[in-house]
C-alpha cells in the first residue's frame, strides 16, 4: 500500500510538474506569440477597424489612415472616429483628430498638433466610444518619417570605354522640396536603383547622402530605367520611388582617337608634296646644291665638258697635249661658269707660271727625286709622282697603291722620264729576276705647265730599251702615240688599281696600250702602278704606248736640259726622242701571258713603217728586239 501510495504520489508530482511546465511554456509562448498574432490578426481573422499607417513626410506634419476592416457597417464616414493621446505630460488626455478627410479616411495633423520626439497613441472609436483595438497604435513622429522622392532626376554621359561597349553615367537630382534639408532639420540619404528596361531586375546602389551618383558599366545599346528614393539617416522607413528616367546610349563611332591621326597624316603628305613642288619649281642652284648635291664628274678646267664625254678622246688629247690653244692654260675658256659649285683642285705646290715648259722637266724630276715634294695633281696626274697624294677625291680612283714600294716606284719613275735623253752610256745590265719589259710605258709624268694639265711638256712615252741590273731602265726616244679606241676601255679597267699585276696584264692583252710595266728590280713582281695610274686618268691623258696624241714637240726639246741634270742619277736615260717615230726596235706587242716567273710573253710586234731615225741617240741604236719571249740571258745581246 505504501508503495502504491508513494508511487501514486510520485506520479502525481511528476504529472504536476509536467503540467506546470506545460503551462509555463504555454504562457511564454503566448507572450511571444501575442505580438506575432497581432500582425497576423489583420490578415487571418476578420479584421476590425484599424489604422493602416501613419506617415510624416517632412517631420513637421503627419497623417494617419484607417480602415474599417471587415466591419462594413462602419465604412460610412463618421462612423469611426480617431482619437490620439500625446504623451508629452503626465496629464495628457485623449483628443479627437484635428482634421478629418473622410474620403481618404485620413486624419491629418498639422504643424501645431505635431510634436517630434513625443509619443503619440492613436485610437479608433465608434459612435458609442467603443474602442476597436486592443492596443493603441503608438509611435513617435521621427520614426514614421517617409521623405518625398527626390526631384529633377537627370543623367549625363561621363565617358565611354575604349572598347566602345560600355559607358558611365552621372545621375543628379535634388532633395525633395518638402524636406527642409537646408535648415538641417532632416538629413536624407538616397538610394538609386536601375534596371534594364522592361525587366524588373532592379539593382540598388549604395546609399549616400549626396545629390549625385555615378552608375558604372552600362552597356551601349541597351535602355535602362533609373529611379531613386530616400530616407532619413539612421532610420528605417524609405520614401516612395521617384518617377523613372530612361538612359540609353547608342553606338557612337569613335572618331575622336582617329581624327587627329588622320589629320596629321594628311597634313604630312600635303607638306611633303608642297616641298617637292617647291623644290622642283624653284630650281635654285643653291637649293639644288643643298638638296641634290652634284655628283662629281670629270671636269677639267679649260676643257669643254662636252669633250669629256665618251668617245671624244681625240680632241681632248689634242687639247691636253697643247695643240690648238697652246694647251691647257689659264686662257682656256671657263666652261663652268654657270656652275659655281664646281671646284677644281688647284695645284698647291707651284704656281702655274713658274711651271714653264723649260723648267718642267727639272721640276718634275726634282719632284720625283725629292720625295716629299708635293706633286701637282690633277686628274690627269699620274699618281706615281705623289708621295703625299691628295686626300680629296674628285671623282677619280685613288692612285695610291699600298702594295708598291714608293721609293722603288719613284726611282723607276724617275728613270722613265722621257726627255732625259741623255746620251748617257747605255749600260744594259741584265736584271736577273726582273722580267723583261719589251715595251715600257712611261708613266705619265705630270709636269706643270701653265695649266693644270701638265702632260704637255714631256715626252709621254718612251720605250724601255733595256733594264739595268741596278734597276735602271734605258729608255728609247719617245714615240708618237696613237689614240686608240680602246683607251677608254682600258681606262675603266685600270680603275681597279690595287689589283695584282696579273690583272692588268691580262687586261693589257686586250689593248695594245697597256703593256707595260715597271720593272721592279727587287723582283717583287710587276707593278702596274704607272699603268694603272695612267689608265685611271681620263682619256685625255696620254696612254702609255698607245696611240695618244703626240706630245707637243716643244717639250721634247726641253728635255735634254732636264736630262742633263739627271746625269747623276744612276739611270741611264736615253735621249729624248726628237722624232715621234717608234724606235725601230721597240714596238708594242700584246702580252700574251705571264708565266710563273713574272715574265711576259709577248706577241710579235707589228710592223712599223718608218725606220726610226735616231740621230740623237747613237747609243740608242738598240738591236732589234727579239720577238717573243725575252729571257734575261738574252738581254746581253741587246746591249749595243
Amino acid at each position: 500500500m505504501s508503495v502504491s501510495s508513494s508511487s501514486s504520489s510520485s506520479s502525481s508530482s511528476t504529472s504536476n510538474l509536467l503540467l506546470l511546465l506545460l503551462v509555463s511554456s504555454l504562457d511564454w509562448l503566448s507572450t511571444r506569440g501575442s505580438a506575432l498574432a497581432m500582425d497576423h490578426m489583420t490578415s487571418s481573422a476578420p479584421v476590425g477597424p484599424h489604422f493602416t499607417e501613419c506617415v510624416s513626410r517632412e517631420q513637421e506634419t503627419f497623417r494617419c489612415w484607417w480602415s474599417p476592416g471587415g466591419f462594413h457597417n462602419l465604412s460610412s464616414p463618421g462612423a469611426l472616429r480617431v482619437f490620439y493621446l500625446k504623451k508629452d505630460s503626465p496629464t495628457s488626455e485623449w483628443k479627437e483628430c484635428p482634421e478629418y478627410s473622410h474620403l481618404k479616411r485620413e486624419c491629418f495633423f498639422d504643424v501645431n498638433h505635431t510634436s517630434v520626439w513625443v509619443p503619440y497613441c492613436m485610437q479608433l472609436r465608434g459612435q458609442n466610444n467603443v474602442t476597436y483595438l486592443d492596443e493603441d497604435y503608438c509611435f513617435t513622429v521621427e520614426n514614421i518619417v517617409r521623405p518625398d522622392p527626390p526631384v529633377s532626376l537627370n543623367w549625363t554621359l561621363l565617358n565611354i570605354s575604349p572598347s566602345g561597349l560600355s559607358y558611365d553615367v552621372m545621375v543628379t537630382w535634388e532633395p525633395p522640396p518638402s524636406a527642409d534639408v537646408g535648415a538641417g532639420w532632416m538629413r536624407i540619404e538616397y538610394e538609386i536603383q536601375y534596371t534594364e528596361r522592361n525587366t524588373s531586375n532592379w539593382e540598388a546602389l549604395e546609399m549616400q547622402p549626396h545629390t549625385q551618383q555615378t552608375i558604372y558599366g552600362l552597356q551601349i545599346g541597351k535602355e535602362y530605367e533609373v529611379h531613386i528614393r530616400c530616407r532619413m539617416q539612421a532610420f528605417v522607413k524609405f520614401g516612395e520611388f521617384s518617377d523613372s528616367v530612361f538612359i540609353q546610349v547608342t553606338e557612337i563611332p569613335s572618331q575622336d582617337s582617329n581624327v587627329p591621326f588622320k589629320l596629321a597624316l594628311i597634313f604630312g603628305v600635303l607638306g611633303i608634296l608642297i616641298l617637292i613642288l617647291l623644290i622642283g619649281i624653284s630650281q635654285q642652284p643653291r637649293l639644288m646644291m643643298i638638296l641634290l648635291p652634284p655628283v662629281p664628274a670629270p671636269k677639267i678646267k679649260g676643257i669643254d665638258p662636252e669633250l669629256l664625254k665618251k668617245g671624244k678622246l681625240d680632241e681632248l688629247n689634242f687639247i691636253l697635249s697643247g695643240g690648238g690653244m697652246g694647251g691647257l692654260s689659264t686662257y682656256a675658256p671657263d666652261f663652268y661658269q654657270d656652275e659655281p659649285w664646281v671646284e677644281f683642285i688647284e695645284v698647291d705646290a707651284e704656281d702655274a707660271d713658274a711651271a714653264e715648259k723649260e723648267e718642267n722637266q727639272g721640276s718634275d724630276t726634282q719632284r720625283l727625286l725629292d720625295l716629299p715634294q708635293p706633286v701637282s695633281h690633277h686628274m690627269n696626274i699620274g699618281c706615281a709622282n705623289a708621295v703625299s697624294f691628295p686626300d680629296d677625291d674628285s671623282g677619280r680612283a685613288s692612285c695610291y697603291d699600298p702594295d708598291l714600294h714608293d721609293q722603288d716606284t719613284l726611282m723607276l719613275m724617275a728613270t722613265l722620264l722621257p726627255g732625259q735623253p741623255e746620251a748617257g752610256e747605255d749600260s744594259f745590265d741584265v736584271v736577273e729576276s726582273a722580267p723583261v719589259i719589251e715595251r715600257s710605258e712611261r708613266p705619265l709624268m705630270q709636269t706643270q705647265t701653265g695649266g693644270p694639265q701638265t702632260w704637255v711638256n714631256t715626252d709621254f712615252y718612251a720605250q724601255v730599251s733595256n733594264v739595268m741590273p741596278s734597276g735602271g731602265v734605258v729608255l728609247s726616244p719617245g714615240q708618237q702615240l696613237r689614240l686608240q679606241e680602246s683607251t677608254s676601255a682600258t681606262e675603266d679597267e685600270a680603275q681597279k688599281k690595287g689589283k695584282g699585276s696579273e690583272d692588268s696584264e691580262v687586261k693589257a692583252q686586250k689593248e695594245l696600250q697597256f703593256q707595260l710595266l715597271v720593272v721592279d728590280p727587287e723582283g717583287s713582281g710587276y707593278t702596274t702602278e704607272s699603268n694603272a695610274r695612267q689608265i685611271s686618268t681620263p682619256p685625255s691623258t696620254p696612254m702609255p704606248g698607245s696611240g695618244y696624241q703626240t706630245i707637243h714637240p716643244q717639250p721634247v726639246e726641253t728635255k735634254p736640259a732636264a736630262t742633263a741634270e739627271n746625269n747623276q742619277s744612276p739611270y741611264i736615260l736615253p735621249d729624248s726622242p726628237q722624232s715621234q717615230f717608234f724606235a725601230p726596235v721597240a714596238d708594242y706587242t700584246v702580252v700574251q701571258e705571264v708565266d710563273s716567273q713574272h715574265s711576259l710573253l709577248l706577241n710579235p710586234p707589228p710592223r712599223q713603217s718608218p725606220p726610226p731615225c735616231l740621230p740623237h741617240h747613237p747609243a740608242k741604236a738598240l738591236p732589234a728586239m727579239p720577238v717573243g719571249y725575252v729571257t734575261p740571258d738574252l738581254l746581253g745581246n741587246l746591249s749595243p
Binding site: 504643424v111 520626439w117 509619443p119 497613441c121 503608438c138 535648415a183 539612421a234
Partner: protein
Amino acid sequence: MNPITLFNATIFSFITFLCCSLGLLSLLVSVVWVVLVYLLFCSRLLSVGAAPICTNAQAGCHALSLANLFDRVIQHSARMHGISNDLHSEFYFLPSKNQIGRVSRNCHTSNIFTPNGKENAQRMAREELTEVILKLLVAWRDPLWHFQQSIAHHHDFNNFSTNKALEMSDMVHELRKGVEKVAEKMQMMGIISNSVSSLASPEVLMPSDSAEWRLMKDYDLLYCFRRDSNKVQNYLKILKCRIVPEHGC
C-alpha cells in the same frame, strides 16, 4: 715732408687698405652667413606659420574652424545616433511599434525642456539651444556607463553589442567635450553670450531625481537614448545651419 712720416703714412694706408679689404671680405661672409641663418630659421618659422594654429586670439581663421568643429561634432552625433539605433533594433526580438506604449515611465530626461518641432527649435535662442544640448549630453553620461557595465556582465549579449554599448558611452563623453568646445568658440567669437552655465558645473544640469534612470530597464534606456541622440543631432544641425550655413547645409 718728413720722409719718416711719409713712410708711416704709406704703411698705414697700406695696412688700412688690407684691413679694409679683409674686413670687407669678412663682412661679406658674415652677411651671407647671417642671411642663410635667417632664411633657415625663417623658413622654419614660415612653415610653422604657414599653417597657423587658430588660437583664440587669432582672427581670420575663426569662421572656418568653427564650421569645422561643427562638422566634426555633427558627424559624431550622427554616428552616436546610428549606434544607438543599431543597439535598439537588435536588442529586442521585435522592435514593434507597440512597444512604445509599453514604456512604463518617461525617460529621465523628459524634464529637460527641449523644443519639439522645427519652428520651436529655430525660434529658440542659440544659447538656450546649446545649453539644451549640453544638458542632454551630461544627463546621459552616467546611465550609459552603467548600461554598458550591466550588459557586459550579462552573458546574453554578444561581443558586438557590448562593444557598441561601450562605444556609445564613450561617444557621449567625447561629444559633450566637443560641444563644450564649440560653445567656447562661439562665446569667444561673440556669437553667443556667456550665459551658458552648463560649462561651469555639470552637476547643475543633473536633475534632482538623478537616480531615476537606475530604475529604467535596459530597453527603455536604449529607447530613450535613441530618441535623445536624435534630438542632439537635430539641434546641432539646426545650430550649425543657423550660425555657419555655408558649408553643407
